[in-house]
Amino acid sequence: MPVYATVQDLSGRLVIDLTKDSFKIFEDGTPVEITQFSHERQPLSMAVMLDMSGSITGLAGHSREAMDRLRRAVLAFLRSLEAGDRASLGSFNGMEIAVGANLTNDLREFDRVMQEELWAGGGTPLWQAISVAAKSISRESGRRVAVFLTDGVDTGALPGWRGDKNTVAQEMAEAGTMVYFVRPPVKNVSATRPLPQNTREFSQETGGGYLEIPTDTDSDYQAIFGRLAEELRHQYLLGFSPRARDGKLHNIEARTTDRQLIVRARQSFRAGG
């Protein structure tokens, strides 16, 4: 069972030089042997999804210049893909969830999607979009990541979908997909809203995380996306064998021997039957 881990020190700096002996894994509180370890960069399959709801675009005071800034930053982020990595670029709004059809590392394709396939307006079916995006990469081997540019406020699913945040969390646990949220500098009337607490927690339970772009400037966009690219470049791969293959969800915790370090990794998994 693969566990991808990000390690930071207390100041938030990435810690990238740990060895296998630096880690411990606990399944339902019981230590288990780490059977696989690598600090080499693992190939990545990534679904990048842009929240095009009204709260992000248009009514929120986001100008075309701001959207262009977002576009440049996303393209710069996707430029950080390396050999073996593949990504899709899609969007969601109050009328549709459209995952990018092509998993690729061709920047022209990402730019094409930006130019041809973004439509802004309506609500935010966030949890449903996460489910759809994760499914689109669920058959890819290796690291699977879903990155959402969003203000993180779900306003309800599109008609016909019966899931919710909890069912999506289970799906992520089963698929081992890490979910990241990047909140653009959205101005909602007068104040920039932080990501909601439940959204932050959700991302961390998957082993992903969240980042907030403080101001609507190129430098802030680039800094935050640069940070995300760095994090994805420096994750550890820890592998272990589940104690029982009972088909049930189990808790998992990855720690370092240095308790001053903070480990982010998936917090549950389903043991295959």
Binding site: G90, N93, A101, E117, L118, G160
Partner: protein, 268 residues
């Protein structure tokens, strides 16, 4: 003898004219795929939510009101059966397709009217989950071009859409080239949301108290420009329908098919 020959020739001509369908004696066949965008954004434009006048304490309109039936079968059965089917001649090769999450191109329309009406109804029976994205318009156009690749006569696609395309494997540029190379003209009925209908209806209600929103392109070109360019490049036309309903769709589809048939005749 001479008179007899003339009589015989006239009789033969009369027999030929009366015994053959009009299509065989006077017309060039056309090959057409009618592609209907069945995504919910189109449905919201064609069956707009009718606001009941309710406002919140700040005087902003609230999302209260009614929406007429807006499934693909509700919206498109009549325009297709009244606008398209009566104009399909036996020699024509006409297929109906839909663009939703999945692209479907139906079998060629043939047989009598009951069979064709049945085919229309079958094609428009779209699962709800197919209507909420993506809307791969360019992939659908490519599939339609492919469906016409071996067809005789002039080749055309009639696309009914609002132009909000997403989730495509192919780019607009690739599909445009593909259509040009296969000599397929693309005619578009652009179902455009009209701002002028504000106050009576709106295309999209939003649970975040933004009921006046309609979808726009925040970065790229607006749908009208994209659809216009596609039609122009392939020798087709773009007709804007901003009536906010389906009342004009039958006649628009009929006019387009008439024009395609006349054009084929003229170039024979």
């Amino acid at each position: 003898m001479r008179v007899s020959r003339i009589v015989l020739a006239c009789a033969s001509l009369c027999w030929w004219l009366t015994d053959r369908p009009l299509a065989h004696r006077q017309t060039s066949p056309v090959s057409v795929v009618v592609l209907v965008d069945v995504s919910v954004s189109v449905a919201n434009t064609l069956a707009p939510f009718v606001w009941d006048g309710t406002k919140d304490s700040a005087g902003r309109p609230q999302g209260s009101g009614t929406r007429p039936p807006s499934r693909p079968a509700d919206l498109f059965t009549r325009p297709l059966t009244e606008g398209v089917l009566p104009r399909v001649r036996p020699s024509d090769y006409v297929r109906l397709g839909t663009v939703g999450k999945n692209v479907r191109i139906g079998v060629p329309l043939s047989g009598g009217r009951p069979a064709m009406v049945s085919a229309v109804r079958y094609t428009l029976n779209i699962p709800d989950e197919d209507r909420y994205g993506p809307s791969p318009l360019w992939d659908a156009v490519d599939a339609a071009v492919d469906a016409l690749s071996n067809a005789a006569g002039s080749r055309s696609i009639i696309l009914v859409t609002d132009g909000l395309s997403s989730g495509n494997r192919l780019s607009l540029s690739q599909v445009t080239q593909s259509a040009i190379q296969s000599r397929t003209s693309i005619h578009i009925v652009h179902e455009e949301f009209s701002e002028t209908s504000f106050g009576k209806a709106f295309s999209l209600t939003d649970r975040t108290s933004n009921p006046w929103l309609f979808l726009t392109a925040p970065i790229g070109r607006q749908p009208g420009a994209v659809l216009g360019a596609l039609a122009l490049a392939t020798g087709g036309t773009r007709i804007v329908d901003d009536s906010g309903g389906t009342k004009n769709l039958s006649s628009l589809l009929g006019s387009l098919l008439d024009a395609i048939q006349r054009s084929a005749e003229a170039s024979r």
